[in-house]
Amino acid sequence: MPSNYLYIAVMALVSYTIRILPLTLIRKPIRNRFIQSFLYYVPYATLAVMTFPAIIHATQTPISGAAALAAGIAAAWMGAGLFPVSVICCALVLLIELFV
């Protein structure tokens, strides 16, 4: 297995390149409709795929993970920001696991 520092270097290189290429090279708007649409949808697909079912396996019991998922969706739906949604999810898991 490669050293962790090698992993960090690869991650950092890729992350920085992704951000810096458009900023330095592309001075005109992207015109290709497919690429525009693809890039638009990518964050939602990645984050959704990574969230479920992983959130249910992350906790001690699946019930608390499922409850956190439901509460997180509800809170975000009602307009709560990044920090409040995270806190609500954590608090609910803590609360449920006190009893389960």
Partner: protein, 257 residues
């Protein structure tokens, strides 16, 4: 915008990118809630880094140089399962692909004549939140606003990760369990509000949940690593949505007005 294009491309209005105490302070003010959120969320990221065998220093460096929640999380999960460097590079690329789009949008907002190094510095920390506050300011981009926010957000992100690694084994299991959903809460806070406004995004999110679940259960596909499944599903689902429901292209012009 039109006027500056007709002028000889001498120099833009330097006041657009000049350092201003007021603008820098505004950036720091708006960076406070972001830094607090980052600190909490990166703490749970540290727990994932710990599973991957990262020391606090390594976690600190990884976060300092990546500034990416989903990207780092995906990479740490892969590393924990003994991934190759190429796999880590691909998952980082996929999970962070959205920053490509954000950087494209930011690139359009620099005033003509802004010194080049500002692009290199802004590119250091293009995240959902920092992009959000930067792009929502009217007029040309003053990099010092974003620097003010980065000055608080980036160290909070890196230190939270390191502390998560250090405290991960000091905290009771119950607390670790609770904190480990913070990151997912952050993901939900990013994907749900647009899903509420856009039906296609809502369906895409639901479909992603369903397909992701199915792939974790189905024989054959289940054998693929979690990271590989995330890459495949992201590309397939996003490409499918892009083909079936291409976004309107006119929007760009409307913004330019």
């Amino acid at each position: 915008m039109m006027k500056s294009q007709h002028r000889t491309p001498l120099r833009g209005d330097a006041s657009a990118w000049a350092f201003s105490h007021r603008v820098f302070t505004e950036g720091m003010r708006d960076g406070v809630p972001i830094a607090l959120g980052y600190f909490a969320v990166s703490f749970s990221l540290g727990i994932a880094a710990r599973h991957a065998g990262f020391t606090p220093l390594q976690g600190f460096l990884a976060s300092l140089f990546n500034n990416a929640s989903a990207g780092e999380y995906a990479a740490f999960s892969l590393i924990a399962s003994g991934a190759t460097l190429a796999e880590v590079a691909i998952i980082t690329l996929i999970a962070n692909a959205r920053y490509l789009l954000m950087s494209c949008a930011l690139a359009q907002r620099f005033a003509p004549g802004t010194p080049f190094f500002h692009r290199l510095l802004i590119g250091y920390d293009v995240t959902d939140e920092l992009f959000g506050i930067t792009i929502s300011r009217p007029g040309a981009l003053n990099p010092y606003y974003t620097y003010g926010a980065i000055l608080l957000a980036a160290p909070a992100w890196a230190m939270g990760t390191a502390l998560g690694i250090m405290a991960g084994n000091l905290l009771p299991l119950r607390v670790v369990s609770a904190l480990s959903v913070a990151l997912y809460g952050m993901f939900l806070a990013i994907i749900i509000p647009p899903a509420r406004q856009n039906r296609v995004v809502a369906v895409l999110v639901l479909l992603s949940f369903a397909v992701s679940y199915a792939c974790g259960v189905l024989p054959g596909i289940r054998a693929l690593s979690e990271g590989t499944r995330t890459i495949l599903l992201t590309v397939l689902l996003s490409a499918g949505a892009a083909v079936l429901f291409p976004i309107p292209v006119e929007e760009e012009e409307a913004h330019a007005q």
